[in-house]
């Protein structure tokens, strides 16, 4: 599935080149270039306002870039598609603030995310097949919420909601996962478990993680991209990046 498509312009799963976007004159992203290889997990860090969330908005179709190229799987131009089309291509997103469907049971949250035909008629006459139910049960097991499946998602703790949302991403079975601050507001124990969960997911998915928590990034042990003022400041292993003087300056404000 991750093999390059014939006629592909690039072998990368995600390819951003020279992307810029501004809001009311403020340049949120200026000339951002980034590639993610199939199967890669990448951590993105950067101070507030570095353009991390805007970058995710561009990839998922929420924001249109003013200029630049955004290609998925070598040949799909993401700047021409809307959110639903991009989601159906296989790009899943977890938001910074956990957004689950509070008035649905945990199981229904997973069911709604489960990879399937999204048309009006297909959902109207939907019947969950045995294989699909098995997959739902499997995911509930992975995110450790199987015993709470009938509870409303709104009754979950913050950390559990984060996991439920990661479970929903798993159910979507995307080729690329965008995960925005998965460890925000979690206890140390929960953070470690979340890192383990993401590492397990990264075994057969490409993942982009945006995070502030350096301990968490260290735990993931992957290549890091540092964003600053809407462009890439540094890229490489965490140790190398954190030794970079410019990075230190940006983070510590020297």
């Amino acid at each position: 599935m991750n093999a390059p498509v014939p006629g592909a312009l690039t072998s990368s799963l995600l390819y951003l080149d020279g992307v810029s976007v501004s809001f009311d004159g403020f340049k949120a992203i200026r000339g951002l270039s980034l590639t993610i290889e199939p199967g890669e997990m990448r951590a993105i860090i950067g101070p507030n306002g570095a353009g991390k969330t805007t970058m995710m908005d561009i990839i998922t179709g929420k924001t249109r870039p003013d200029e630049g190229t955004v290609m998925f799987a070598g040949s799909v131009d993401l700047t021409r598609l809307d959110e639903a089309a991009i989601a159906n291509l296989g790009i899943g997103r977890k938001f910074q603030k956990p957004t689950v469907f509070d008035f649905h049971s945990i199981e229904d949250n997973i069911l709604l995310a489960l990879k399937s035909k999204r048309s009006v008629l297909k959902t109207l006459f939907w019947q969950t097949q045995a294989a699909q139910q098995k997959r739902i049960d499997e995911i509930l097991g992975i995110i450790k919420l199987a015993d709470k499946r009938d509870r409303l998602a709104g009754s979950l703790s913050h950390g559990q909601k984060q996991w439920l949302e990661i479970g929903m991403l798993l159910a979507q079975d995307p080729r690329l996962l965008l995960v925005d601050e998965p460890a925000a507001g979690m206890t140390d124990g929960e953070t470690a478990q979340t890192a383990a969960l993401l590492k397990a997911i990264a075994r057969d998915h490409s993942v982009i993680v945006v995070e502030h928590d350096m301990g968490f990034i260290r735990e993931l042990g992957v290549k890091v991209t540092v964003l600053h003022e809407g462009a890439v400041l540094a890229e490489g292993p965490l140790d190398q990046v954190s030794a970079n003087e410019r990075v230190v300056e940006v983070y510590l404000g020297r």
Binding site: D102, F103, A113, S119, V120, T123, Q172
Partner: protein, 379 residues
């Protein structure tokens, strides 16, 4: 497949509701036709038609609850779809008058003769046929909702803005239907009906049949709405209500789902209007008045939003209270009472009558019960 769709997710509340509607639909016409007038069990034709009107409102309330309670679309113009269904039925009834009108014209309704019109406008063609008229009862409101929704939902108009344009929609139609040259009878509307499928509209038997039909349609509307909200589509629609952009990022085309429920709901409102007209005996532009649509929202809020049964209950309770209030010394104060009712329900019974009663019931049965699902506050 259809049976499974309609009944598989039916809950106990739904069964009680259906049984109640069936019982009323049978008992009231029988009590009207078979019980002698002197008996305390006799239901007069006037009372039956009055309750028939309430049940039409109940169907309208269910249709509104489908879009507001489940999909979060606060339509302040649902009265427009109700009135359009009513006009379609009214046009059929007008054509049935034939040469029995005041002017005795076999083709043209009285108001057209009065306006010196020579021939029937094209949009009146076909309305002498009952099946055609019934098709229009569904099609006209459905098509309007589809076109309106197509533009509104694709442009991602939501919340208060959407409410305001639905209100503008019904107001625009009100003004249009008031005009004589629209060809719908101007401010007098359509009235003086004689026959419906060959039966005298005023006759007791016809009234009883109309009442029973209203109950049947109310049950059918409830079953369809219940089938929709119980399906996976219903779950998507609730997801849209609670977290629209999240639903979009899951790959659902939010505008299409909204368009589907909005259109189904408009058709349902049209049916309610069509049943209302022969029982009330008139349809005029005041049915498009924005205040009517707002009252419908109040019925749903009072009964319990997002419950379907509650919406129907609210419509009957509020309209029954309205009849009590407006036919006596209290008449001038009805609007104050209605306003007060809305404020009190919002403050003290945010889940409406049904939600509150259910809350008490669950507390009595299992004190530590998890709170029941309730819709998020309106945007």
């Amino acid at each position: 497949m259809i049976g499974r769709f309609l009944f598989s997710t039916m809950d106990k509340r739904g069964h009680v509701f259906l049984a109640l509607v069936a019982a009323i639909g049978l008992a009231v016409p029988l009590a009207n036709l078979l019980v002698p007038a002197g008996s305390p069990f006799h239901v007069s034709t006037a009372t039956m038609s009055l309750w028939g009107k309430y049940l039409c409102y109940a169907l309208l309330a269910i249709s509104l609850d489908l879009v507001w309670g489940y999909c979060g679309i606060l339509s302040l113009g649902h009265g427009a779809f109700f009135a359009l269904g009513g006009y379609a039925m009214g046009m059929y009834l007008m054509r049935q008058i034939g040469s029995r009108g005041v002017y005795g014209n076999p083709i043209l309704p009285d108001f057209m003769v009065f306006l010196n019109w020579q021939e029937l406008p094209w949009y009146w063609w076909g309305f002498s046929s009952f099946p055609f008229a019934m098709l229009m009862v569904l099609l006209v409101p459905g098509l309007l909702a589809f076109v309106f929704g197509w533009f509104a939902f694709r442009s991602r108009v939501t919340g208060v803005y959407l409410s305001i344009i639905t209100q503008a929609l019904t107001y625009a139609l009100l003004l249009a239907f008031f005009r004589n040259d629209m060809g719908f009878g101007g401010n007098n509307g359509l009235t003086d009906f004689k026959d419906i499928i060959g039966f005298n509209v005023q006759a007791q038997g016809t009234r009883a049949a109309l009442f029973a039909t209203t109950c049947t349609m109310l049950a059918a509307g409830f079953l369809i709405a219940r089938g929709i909200v119980g399906s996976k589509l219903g779950k998507v629609v609730i997801a849209i209500r609670d977290a629209e952009s999240r639903t979009r990022f899951l790959g659902y085309r939010v505008d299409r789902f909204k368009l589907f429920v909005f259109t189904v709901s408009a058709c349902m409102a049209g049916v309610a209007g069509a049943l209302y007209v022969p029982q009330v005996g008139i349809i005029n532009p005041s049915e498009f008045a924005p205040a009517n649509s707002i009252e419908t929202v109040i019925w749903v809020a009072v009964g319990g939003r997002g419950t379907l049964v509650g919406a129907a209950l609210g419509a009957v309770v509020v309209n029954w209270a309205k009849t009590m209030f407006t036919s006596g010394l209290m008449a001038p104060y009805w609007l104050f009472a209605l306003g007060a009712l809305f404020v009190l329900v919002t403050l003290f019974m945010p889940k409406g009558i049904l939600g509150t009663v259910q809350g008490w019931w669950e507390k009595r049965r299992k004190p530590e019960a998890v709170p029941a699902a309730e819709p998020a506050p309106a945007e």
